[in-house]
Amino acid sequence: MNDRYIVAGAGTGTLVTNKLIRNTYILLSMTLLFSAFTAGISTFLNIPLPGVFITLAIYFGLLYLTEKFSNRGLGLVFVFALTGFLGLTLGPLLSFYIHQIPNGSRMVMVAMGGTGTIFLGLSGYALTTRKDFSFMGAFLMAGILTAFVAGLAAYFFQLEGLSLAASAVFLLASSGVILWQTSRIVHGQETNYISATVTLYVSIYNIFVSLLRLLNAFSGDD
């Protein structure tokens, strides 16, 4: 498979950067539409969540395969497999909010709008100011790892407060990842649009799910 379709190039010229940004945003839009489609199917057919273990195993498996094949055309197949799967996992969550929670449909719409605004605002800031946020890398990795462990501990021990704290950390860390990844694209530190798309997509997904969780907990309707 010819790598030139995947890797924008090793140079840091404006043309290369612009091409990478364009390819990343096109692929990101396509994956978001595709996951909205699979979420719709999952909601319509009432497909249940496969369980935490299977969900984690499939998620990390597809993430690994996407990164492994990110320099080949096959990477695109795994990007759509990963985002389609994440869309499927959103279906039961959306069904729960829409059918079980009073004012749930409004919460879903607010979370969608909020996620879009956060993404566009942060990405736009990093693109227009061209600030280098690469110094955030270790901080973000540590934050996400901490939130992941805290989220699992909250799930095991049924700790509501810890679960909400993990959601808040996930939301802020994912916002930071959007700044960091966009800055890496702008400064030529990220040259692969498949990797860039996956990072941005997972951040958007995390922000949406965390925001929905926080809205449900604090909006006073539950």
Partner: protein, 60 residues
């Protein structure tokens, strides 16, 4: 949740943490240091995100 499922989740989580931890340490070593001004910008941006979320919660 079935106990085998809980054990499987726990084992998966431990594996993920074990796999990620060296990458975090490596990232700490290789990440460039940000200045106080850089971190102030990040704190302000994340505070703005927090404020926005607070407003959304009040609106929802």
């Amino acid at each position: 949740m079935k106990s085998w499922d809980q054990i499987a989740v726990l084992v998966t989580a431990i594996i993920i943490v074990i796999l990620m931890f060296p990458r975090v340490l490596q990232a700490v070593k290789h990440t460039p240091k940000g200045s106080a001004d850089d971190w102030r910008t990040v704190v302000l941006i994340l505070a703005a995100v927090g404020l926005f979320v607070f407003i959304l919660i009040k609106l929802a």
